[in-house]
Amino acid sequence: MTDKDLISKLNTLKNVNPDSSWLTSNRELFLAQISNSGADKLSGGQVFFINLKSFLKASSQPVFALGVFMLVLVASSIFGHKLFSQAKPNDSLYIARIISEKAKLNTLLNPEEKNKLAVKFATNHAQDISAVLSDPSFNNEENKDQVAKLSDSFNKEIETVKKIVNASVAKSYKTETSTNEPVEMSEEAVAIATEYKTEQGIQIKENEASRQAPVINAGAAIKTEQTTTSTETKATSSVEIKVEAEADAKINEADKIIDEAKESFNNKDYHSVIDKLNEVTEIIK
């Protein structure tokens, strides 16, 4: 007999089975015994959880670890900012909030948007510091080092707000002047504009009452041209002056409120600080 024949014969023995009546009776007895030891049907939720755990474990250790890591990464990117944004300056998660805000700022390409958000963050920080310091259970002799640190941080945040406000308010007005919106001009500028458009392409709205035709002759042409240039410059300058004046007024207003906020902070009037900073936020909107 060859090995193959022997194995083939041995295989036929797999048809040897226990008696069917014994199988049935033993099954019932066995199920009764395990029920007595606490066996029962699992709920759908329990089965789902077991299936998920088993799948992750079956994938392999590195895949399981990677899956958990990806889940934490996605969850923290979705919920992380919401979580950190509530962290106060004396919380352990505050640093995470700062990092999260910095990351958000770095993702913005538009400088205007970036400045607005930076001011918002700095203002929020200053307000949060004020809120923390207004709490007598924190602002005491025991925490004087931390209070001093927070006061320094407040001053830095305020300076940041001032700097960015000055830059962003002035820039926003500069941006306004370069648009194609019609701008009211003086009578001389209107007269010239009917013949000459500015290089920047500003459309000049005609003021009917002040229309004046230029005198055209050889000598006068040169004179007109010179007059044109100087009038044109005057017209442009007067618009810019008006715009700059408005920008300055806003900056002065913002600066004034920021200084008032600083004063209130030094006087430990923290609620007033928070209100003043809210006003600053409104100005730069």
Partner: protein, 192 residues
């Protein structure tokens, strides 16, 4: 690779559900494995009545083991059942105080082949098979066990390796030796 993950998943899922005392899954486990375990025990100890009792004990012990342990000692549930079965048989021999082979074609305890056997040749008609079955108990315990697991119950080399705590290479060598030994019993070589 995917079928390997599916197998691993099913195994981990079954073990986890058993650990959670899921009656439904243990019923499935019982139904799927009771005949194999009974056959393994029967061919090891040679008595149908004893095999019936031992099979019940083996399943109860497995259930108990799963509840009390971390399940790190068996890669699959089937391997765990066989490990418990081997230990139960060792306890049985210890209690009996004897380890002599028992003939499987004992007239008082004839092999009771199931009526729904699929082979066209029944054992009584197959002299070769009859001879094999009669000589099986005289094999060394280790050889008999491995022949039952591999050629009668169709366990894989990996499963046998896990159950016996031997390497796959050792299992292959053991199988070869076991077959040779059985062949020598069935067809003894004439003396030179």
């Amino acid at each position: 690779m995917p079928s390997n993950i599916v197998k691993k998943f099913k195994n981990k899922q079954t073990l986890s559900r058993l650990k959670s005392r899921d009656k439904e899954v243990f019923t499935e486990v019982y139904d799927a494995n009771v005949s194999d375990i009974h056959r393994f025990v029967y061919f090891k100890i040679g008595s149908r009545e004893e095999a019936n009792d031992l099979t019940s004990i083996i399943f109860l012990k497995t259930w108990d083991h799963i509840q009390k342990n971390t399940l790190e000692d068996a890669k699959t549930l089937r391997a765990l059942l066989y490990k418990v079965a081997r230990n139960a048989i060792i306890d049985y021999y210890r209690e009996r105080g004897s380890h002599k082979p028992i003939s499987l074609d004992d007239e008082e305890n004839p092999i009771d082949i199931a009526a729904d056997m699929s082979q066209s040749d029944k054992i009584d008609d197959d002299q070769d098979l009859k001879r094999i079955v009669s000589k099986l108990p005289f094999l060394k315990e280790e050889y008999r066990e491995i022949i039952i697991m591999r050629f009668i119950n169709d366990l894989s080399l990996e499963e046998i390796s896990d159950i016996t705590q031997k390497s796959r290479g050792n299992v292959r060598v053991l199988l070869h030796r076991a077959l040779s030994a059985l062949k020598d019993l069935i067809e003894p070589k004439p003396n030179a």
